[in-house]
């Protein structure tokens, strides 16, 4: 399969195969559940327990393989049993590393025994350890759905008490919450989530879906709901991107998922450093100027979203046509292509203005600094992706004119790499834009900006999102002109 510059066509091609559809379906569901549970894992500092449950799951899966049962049932049995045991040790047990470590070593030993008893192929062990999402069956997908629904229902029921118990154990206990039962419920839910996540990412890489997205989200947000949303977004993005790349590269999906999640985490951690750099220092800060810039940025956002949407609609006939290569036969398609490209360019301009506007407001509102850095990274990412697309497009066109040489192959490889690095950064930029607008909306008490920021992150609703932001910033400008004072969200003076 050759990579095409048009991502929608690529997805269509992939989804013609049942195993890819299964992988995308199961992967998405698992990423959502893992992203939610992962937030609580980070909050409760239960990362090690997560790791250990994965390992006991390994011996469970190995035992199931030995007896010819679907490994996921073995996983489920062993992880829930171990989880129950850990919870019975006491409410604080999910972070008691010595006891957990002891159980972990024993569980791995058992797994080894089961594997040596099993006379079949080593690939089973390999796929339990590192995940085999492309091998997931239709019944596996159904099971994943069922388990996910159970997990989500339980977590919806216990979410608030669990949050309380995780953040403030002593007070929660005094207020009469059943700490042991909560701990038990959480670890069982965790066990089920791990059991289904192992199918994608494997026992050894379980951290990538269960911990890293949550850890990333916690650094970007301040409320549980926002953290869960970001955590889920990161997990889903990494899973999709990983599946996507693995279609073209002969390397394992798990590797791509792990490296994308890792890259996002590293970038977000380094945002802290960038925040303190000169990047965000404005010599003559003016809040009103910043709002003015943000008004223009939002209107450019509207223009870009409209052009992109119309462009994609016009290109739709060619996207829906089979085959990866698009021939520009009609003028309509030319217009569509031109609109999409112009929309993308205008979009980058909008991001630049957003960066500029946020940067000015950051001088009076420290809370905007991390979104500002993310937006800048996003701009960098879009530029890289554009470069990558250009390389790919150039390579492809020349491939049709003359026999493809090593130069074209190199260009294609470099193009793919650029596109993916760029899109990962672009994803963070879009996240930063949503976060920035959300916080600006908080500061200026404009729900329109908050909702708009959130919507701008979503593909179809982004037009409405930018329109709302536009309205919000115009209203804010008027308020400020009237001498209204903004409420600082969190100027960290302490």
């Amino acid at each position: 399969m050759s990579f095409d510059w048009n991502i929608v066509t690529d997805l269509r091609t992939m989804w013609q195969y049942a195993f890819m559809r299964n992988a995308f379906e199961a992967g998405t569901v698992i990423a959502i559940v893992a992203g939610i549970i992962g937030y609580f894992v980070v909050l409760r500092r239960a990362a090690f327990a997560t790791h250990a449950l994965g390992h006991t799951g390994f011996s469970g899966a190995a035992a199931a393989v030995l007896f010819g049962v679907n490994p996921v049932y073995g996983l489920l049995l062993f992880t829930t049993a171990t989880g129950g045991g850990i919870a019975l040790l006491g409410p604080k047990a999910d972070d008691s590393d010595v006891a957990i470590g002891t159980v972990l070593a024993f569980a791995l030993g058992m797994g080894l025994l089961f594997l040596s008893l099993y006379t079949g192929y080593a690939t089973e062990a390999y796929s339990i350890l590192f995940g085999e999402i492309l091998g997931i069956s239709a019944s596996g997908v159904v099971f994943t759905y069922e388990a996910s629904v159970v997990v989500l229902l339980v977590i919806a029921f216990i979410a608030r008490p669990l949050l309380f118990a995780s953040l403030d154990e002593d007070v929660a206990e005094a207020k009469g919450l059943p700490m042991m039962a909560l701990s038990m419920a959480f670890i069982l839910v965790l066990a089920v989530t791990i059991s289904i996540a192992v199918q994608i990412i494997g026992v050894l890489l379980i951290f990538a879906l269960m911990v890293t997205p949550g850890a990333t989200a916690v650094r970007l947000t301040k409320t549980p709901l926002a953290a869960v949303l970001v955590s889920v977004t990161v997990a889903v993005f990494a899973t999709w991107a990983g599946l996507f790349v693995s279609w073209y590269e002969p390397y394992p999906v798990s590797f791509f998922i792990v490296s994308i999640v890792f890259a996002i985490y590293v970038i977000v951690r380094s945002v802290d450093v960038l925040q303190k750099s000169r990047l965000l220092r404005v010599p003559h800060p003016s809040e009103k100027e910043g709002i003015g810039t943000l008004q223009i940025a939002s209107s450019l956002g509207v223009a870009s979203a409209v052009m992109l949407s119309v462009g994609v609609v016009l290109l739709l006939p060619s996207i829906l046509a089979t085959g990866p290569v698009i021939a520009f036969t009609s003028a309509l398609l030319d217009v569509g292509f031109a609109l999409a490209v112009t929309g993308a360019v205008v979009g980058i301009a909008a991001y630049l203005l957003y960066f500029w506007g946020f940067r000015k407001v950051t001088s009076v509102e420290r809370d905007l600094s991390s979104p500002t850095v993310l937006v800048l990274l996003g701009i960098l990412g879009f530029a890289l992706a554009f470069g990558g697309e250009a390389l790919l497009y150039g390579g492809q066109v020349s491939a049709y004119g003359s026999p493809a040489g090593p130069a074209a192959a190199l260009a294609a490889l470099g193009g793919i790499a650029l596109v993916w690095v760029g899109l990962t950064l672009g994803f963070l930029g879009a996240l930063g834009l949503a976060l920035g607008n959300w916080r600006a909306g908080q500061r200026y008490q404009e729900e329109t900006i908050r909702v708009g920021g959130f919507l701008s992150f979503l593909p179809v609703l982004s037009i409405a999102g930018y329109v709302l932001c536009c309205i919000g910033y115009v209203r804010t400008g008027r308020k400020l002109a009237r001498g209204w004072q903004a409420v600082p969200v969190g100027s960290r003076t302490g």
Partner: protein
Amino acid sequence: MEPLASSEIIRAEHLEVGFGDKVVWQDANLDVRRGEFVAVIGPNGAGKTTLFRMLLGLHRPRAGTIKVFGSTPRRGNRKIGYVPQRHTVDNDTHVACDVLVRLGYSGTRWGPGIFSRAEREAAAEALQAVGAAEMANKPIGSLSGGEMQRVFLAEALVGNPEMLLLDEPLSNLDLRRSRDLVQLINGLVRSRHVTTLLVAHDINPLIPCLDKVIYIANGKVATGTPGKVLTSESLTALYGVQVEVLRDSRNNIVIVGGEDVGGEDTHGDGET
């Protein structure tokens, strides 16, 4: 100082507390009335926190009777707001303060749903009451010790409890900040008539505001007004060894002889 209303909040008779075979303290008689500001002082390990855990219904007495609001203490009493000793909140906790305060209000509610307007308003009111309104959106981990104690106080205060149990809110605060916090708490006690028990190591910042002192040391509990309890005569009589209560020119108290009574209990360290 006269209590504002004379209704009884805590009454304990011949109370005995212990873990397993070990008796922590015994034969304690307590009487706390509505709107009183009470300091609980004594050396480490004397059983001050245990007293709180008993009032919260988390620990049962070995002997004697205790009534809180006229009935046996039970867990989850909404009339009690509690700030435990030294919360372990590290600076990695990126959760906004008002989330914590809202949880203090409705954290025990089961089922789905995000925070309602009533909850947000209750949280804002509580933060306002402790002078921490501007910290609402700051991550808990980014706060200083004094700011953190204010937020914890708001978390305890949010359901409009009738009694506050504050376990060492003044530890790790410098002199000025601890006096500020005492003033704030005293203001709450007086304006809301909320009965408050406060565990402290150093009684001196509290003396001007206190109605009562509960002094726990060496397995015994003395209770009464500061002027009555914190005298050489009463403490000597209680412990059966010579205890001196000294006062400096600013009326700061130093208790000497506390080493014999129960460990490193010389109050007034750091006072000048």
